[in-house]
């Protein structure tokens, strides 16, 4: 009777537990599962150049500026340029705008770009040489971006530039007070650093085009849209009538003079505003920009318009020239028509129509036409170009203003990059569908050359873009914008071509403070929230480096979704469990 007694091993194990719960796979309870993956920030999805904004902001907020610049240079060779002249679609899309105020992304980009003076070019690694030769016609932002990314991909790029120096529109179209030449030249240092052949003084005419197609493995046309259509009115032969781009080119080359006292600029884009402001700087006293539509339809950036107004440029809306009036071959003025908005046209804007009997004459010593250029592609005027820059000719690609689409520096940089990726796909005989599926930031924005080179998916390539509702603002505190621009006085500005604006304060402090405001949407910064708030201890893996997101333990994760909800930056989302 005593034998069975009292706490034999079997009885003990009935009284107390013998193991933990690891054999209990609660993952089977799950309906939804978290998906960890870098997403496109709303700003990045809106950036035509495909700048990795969240990524470089992360480094910059830590004061790791060199790394920040290097990240930026993976996608964009010209941050110092974009940081000055870009109309900031990123800031318009910034999720932080709904919280307090959009992040001053352009200012940070500009500061980083300028830090290149200190850190050097900070170029990303170049892939092994392919031996393929690619010709790029044009060294504007599109051509440069294209050549840059081709070179990074290991191709041998040769750029043909009609002018004496590389830069295209950046050099002849954008005045130095907006883009100082030293900032431009510094960034163009990559041409030598990457061994890009630069043939200046080589205008790509039809003959050269044919030769390039013959001699090179691939050819990229980035020849811009420089053909002025003219006003198409009487008096264009009068002295004192200028075409905008030609006027800007002369002004930027320091070759313009004698513009007269009273100048009328016809047009509503940045070229018009630039021309007007250059005219002021060349001695004009009374400069008016005349636009046939209303203020709200004006394509020029608000910032440029405001600066121009401060400098004394007048704006007249709903007016269009009917003819130029001259005396003895010399322009005297313009006959103007009042315009009124008519039916909407294809762009959705209301087409201006002249008001009968509204004609009057305005005095002008000079008239500058700045209505926007037209492409005259030497590779074929009627080429069909798709949005990736591909044409019917498998070795010919088109980008920049020569291709359809928006005409900003950032778009040109993005277009050049897309064309470079397409050329690379062609040269390496890659699966084009696969590449297209993986490289678009947010699935619909600019392409990521880094993703392409590294063979990884661009942030949010599957179409996931982090919007404000995906951001958990509980983890951010309100902070006013740190990066502000200070400007020269209007009097000082018009006295020459000195750069009008500068970012206030110490570059490092400002860049860091402003970058710290960035939510870094879609970017895992290893904050640990998912780990700490997981009731099931099912977050595994730690971000080894910035940019890597953790994963989850499918054996135990019950799919509660707290990790996704508490991710400050929208890196995690809940998706239907595969059944």
């Amino acid at each position: 009777m005593m034998e069975h007694l009292y706490y034999d091993a079997a009885a003990m194990d009935l009284l107390r537990t013998t193991r933990n719960t690891l054999s209990n796979r609660t993952g089977s309870w799950r309906h939804m599962r978290p998906e960890f993956g870098l997403k496109a920030a709303a700003c990045a999805a809106a950036c035509p150049a495909g700048n990795p904004i969240a990524r470089f902001m992360a480094a910059a907020s830590d004061g790791r500026f060199e790394e920040a610049l290097r990240e930026l240079k993976k996608e964009n060779p010209l941050p110092g340029v974009c940081g000055r002249v870009c109309p900031r679609p990123c800031e318009a899309a910034c999720n932080r705008a709904e919280f307090d105020e959009a992040v001053g992304t352009r200012a940070v980009e500009r500061l980083l770009g300028d830090m290149g003076a200190e850190f050097g070019l900070c170029l990303p690694a170049t892939m092994g040489k392919t031996g393929k030769r690619v010709a790029v016609a044009g060294s504007g932002p599109a051509g440069l971006s294209c050549a840059y990314h081709l070179a990074l991909s290991g191709h041998d790029a040769t750029v043909f530039e009609a002018g004496g120096e590389p830069g295209g529109l950046l050099r002849f179209g954008i005045p130095a007070y907006r883009l100082p030449r030293e900032a431009l030249d510094r960034e163009l240092g990559f041409i030598d650093a990457l061994g890009i052949n630069m043939k200046t003084g080589c205008r790509a005419d039809a003959a050269l085009a044919a030769r390039l197609l013959d001699e090179f493995d691939a050819v990229v046309a980035a020849t811009g849209a420089l053909v002025s259509p003219g006003l198409g009115i009487e008096g264009e032969g009068l002295a004192g009538y200028f075409k905008g781009l030609e006027f800007l080119a002369a002004a930027n080359a320091g070759e313009a003079s004698g513009i007269g006292k009273s100048v009328i600029v016809i047009g509503g884009g940045n070229t018009a505003v630039d021309a007007a402001r250059c005219a002021l700087r060349l001695g004009a006293e009374d400069v008016t920009v005349m636009y046939r539509r209303g203020r709200e339809d004006m394509p020029a950036s608000d910032e440029e318009v405001a600066e121009a107004q401060e400098e004394g440029v007048k704006f007249v809306f709903h007016a269009a020239p009917a003819k130029l009036v001259g005396e003895g071959g010399r322009l005297r003025g313009v006959a103007l028509m009042r315009m009124k908005p008519g039916e909407p046209d294809e762009s959705g804007r209301r087409k201006p129509e002249p008001v009968a009997g509204s004609e009057r004459e305005a005095h002008a010593d000079a008239v500058i036409e700045a209505a926007g250029g037209r492409a005259d592609n030497p590779f074929g005027r009627a080429l069909e170009v798709d949005e990736w820059g591909a044409t019917d000719n498998e070795k010919l690609f088109v980008c920049g203003d020569a291709a359809p689409g928006a005409r900003t520096v950032a778009s040109a940089i993005g277009g050049g990059k897309r064309a470079a990726i397409m050329a690379d796909v062609f040269l390496r005989e890659l699966d084009i569908k696969e590449v297209k599926r993986k490289v678009l930031v947010g699935g619909n924005g600019a392409a990521s050359a880094a993703a392409h080179r590294e063979g990884e998916a661009a942030p949010g390539a599957d179409g996931s873009v982090v919007r404000f509702k995906n951001v958990n603002t509980a983890y951010f505190s309100r902070a006013a914008r740190a990066a502000k621009l200070e400007r020269l006085s209007p009097e000082a500005r018009v006295a020459g071509f000195d750069e009008v604006s500068a970012v206030c304060g110490s570059a490092a402090e400002t860049a860091r403070a402003e970058a710290s405001r960035c939510f870094r949407c879609g970017e895992c910064d290893d904050c640990g929230n998912c780990l700490v708030f997981c009731p099931d201890m099912s977050i595994i893996g730690k971000a080894a480096a910035v940019g890597a997101a953790p994963g989850f333990d499918g054996d135990y994760c019950k799919g509660c979704g707290i990790c996704a909800r508490e991710c400050p930056r929208g890196v995690i989302r809940m998706i239907e469990e595969e059944r």
Binding site: L5, Y6, L14, L15, T18
Partner: protein, 383 residues
Amino acid sequence: MKEVMMGDVAVARGVKLARVEVIAAYPITPQTIIVEELSEICGRGELKARFIKVESEHSALACCMGASMAGARTFTASASQGLLLMHEMLHWSAGARTPIVMANVNRAIAPPWNLWSDQTDSLSQRDTSWIQLYCENNQEVIDTVIQAYRIAETVYLPVMVVLDAFILSHTSEVVAVPEQEDVDRYLPPFKAALTLDTNDPRAFGSISGPIEYQKLKMARHEDMMGAVEVARRADIEFGEIFGRKYGIAERYRCEDAELILLTSGALGGTAKIAVDALRESGAAVGALRVRLFRPFPADDIADAIGGAPKVAVIDRNLSVGAGGIFAQELKAALYDRERRPAVFGFTGGYGGGDFTPEVVEKIARRALEMDKPDSPTLWEAIP
């Protein structure tokens, strides 16, 4: 060393000798003297125990259970309503196999208010898996407290030492107090087989399915049944050291008896006086005092009854709707035996009622006169 002491004091002195480490108790008449005496003993530093002055009996037992799980030798005491308040924890502490020892002073259950002896409080805990020992006098009280730890810590089941309210608790008697060194020899320090140990983290009492639950409960039952032998040996070994032993069912002049008087508690002694008188007058009557009620020592009792054709059970308790509890237990224990005497169940003497030797004698004579009991419960008592 002999002293005159009350039953409650004897309990406290037994606790001291057992070197109890944690005490948690709540006062209730007629147990109060136990907690007062222990407070004095601990206060004087004669016992290095933590005495937790809890806010209820329920907490008292819960507290002991926690302390026992953490490896300490523990004690509590209660009575009546207090014991009933403990009821949940009685089950829990036994299920957790904590070898707690408790003294329960049998007191009637209200309403109406009544302070005097009635075993119904402890007997209604018979299904809680507690071992129960009923004492006849204060000497047995102090000795049984010491034996209780020996039994509890062998079978890992808690033990209740039961004494009658006032009849023992407040009655001063001459008691031989065991020597500490003898007690230490008899009762080594408590070494818990299972404790809450941070070096071996386990959970005790986790939700279990029917298979584990039934196995555990059956194991507890087996161990409880085995406790008959453990209690017997604990008593024998106690006798070897201290020269006193009680057995688990104490026989008195049972040989060739026509009638056995079965009693428990302090009534046992009174019954012996009655037996002497009855034998004197020629009636063949013996007495049997059940000391161990749980586990119920059915074999020992059947053996003691032997061939006696009649047993009169005197129950100082009443299970309303069934009768005296010892009588029921006895009938159940004898049912499937070959020799089944007629069992006469008498109840009384509770709530302040008294059994004198004369009353017990009367009960015996009545049982001797009758062929069979005329009702399940034959009531006899002096108001």
